[in-house]
Symmetry: C2
Subunit: 146 residues, 2 copies
DNA sequence: TACAATAGTTACCTAGGAAACTAATGGGGG
DNA sequence: CCCCCATTAGTTTCCTAGGTAACTATTGTA
């Protein structure tokens, strides 16, 4: 019985960890006028290159409406552009020159935050944690599509 | 360099896992007209007994405003009562008879969901994951108070 | 007694999901 | 071949969840 109860604790821990992490990211990005959801999009665009909005949704595992909002804010700040694709329904999102120039500074801040948060977690444990969580997430999402 | 990049992935995995879990909880509780944040409060009250609102906040690691909202909704649904404490500022929250009666059914639903989600994760890995995440969270919160 | 600290609320912000909608695309039947 | 219809990309609206700042009311203390 004690076993089953502890599952509540596991879920709670993950939830709390997630909130703490995004709070840290927000604090780190605040000087630049950016928020965590925006950073996630900027990072993907920088790493993978330009992408349609739906591709961004799928990659970040986020529904369409929040993505629309995040991109509209980024566009208003002049960090991304939306060009219509071959298919006239899609909008291809790309980083602007302004974003390309500012990006290194953003990345420095985020990476140094990452280092700070992870310095107390040995490399080996980090890798193991990552693989466990990823495997679990994969199985969870797999089950949903059965 | 590849190493540092992977930290983005770790954070993203945790974030996504957290969202998936609360989505599952919400789906499970929807038939009862409850949401995940409410369930967290009900669970703590059932497990620990009546508590002041600020004690609930601390225990669940949530700020005061969201807690006020969650409790007000629970009160409106007749699941918790708020009695003024000795100190006239505090409100002591307790489960109503209605909640006590419905609780076992809620718990059954949630526990069976837990089992379903965790059946693909070996007991041993679960325990290890829990301890790693908890330790990390503890260190993170510890650093903030330095 | 004046003042700092605490409990809780209110107002406003970001993040995300569900449902209903619009516009464009792409396939079958006639 | 063309039209109707299902599908898809994005948007709008409205909901929950959580955080910050500013506020009120009470308490405790210097």
């Amino acid at each position: 019985m004690g076993d089953r109860m502890e599952t509540h604790t596991l879920f709670h821990t993950i939830h709390q960890l997630s909130r703490q992490l995004t709070k840290q990211v927000n604090d780190t990005l605040q000087p630049f006028g950016l928020y965590s959801a925006q950073w996630a999009v900027l990072f993907v665009l920088k790493t993978k290159g330009q992408m349609s909005q739906s591709a961004l949704c799928e990659y970040l595992a986020v529904e369409a409406p929040p993505m629309t909002r995040t991109i509209q804010r980024l566009a208003k700040q002049g960090y991304v552009g939306q060009t219509p694709g071959e298919d006239k329904r899609v909008k291809v999102i790309h980083l602007t020159e302004k974003a390309q120039q500012a990006y290194p500074e953003w990345e420095r801040a985020v990476l140094s935050m990452n280092d700070r948060l992870l310095e107390c977690v040995p490399e080996e444990q980090r890798v193991f944690m990552q693989s466990l969580l990823n495997e679990w997430l994969g199985k969870m999402k797999g089950d949903l599509h059965e």
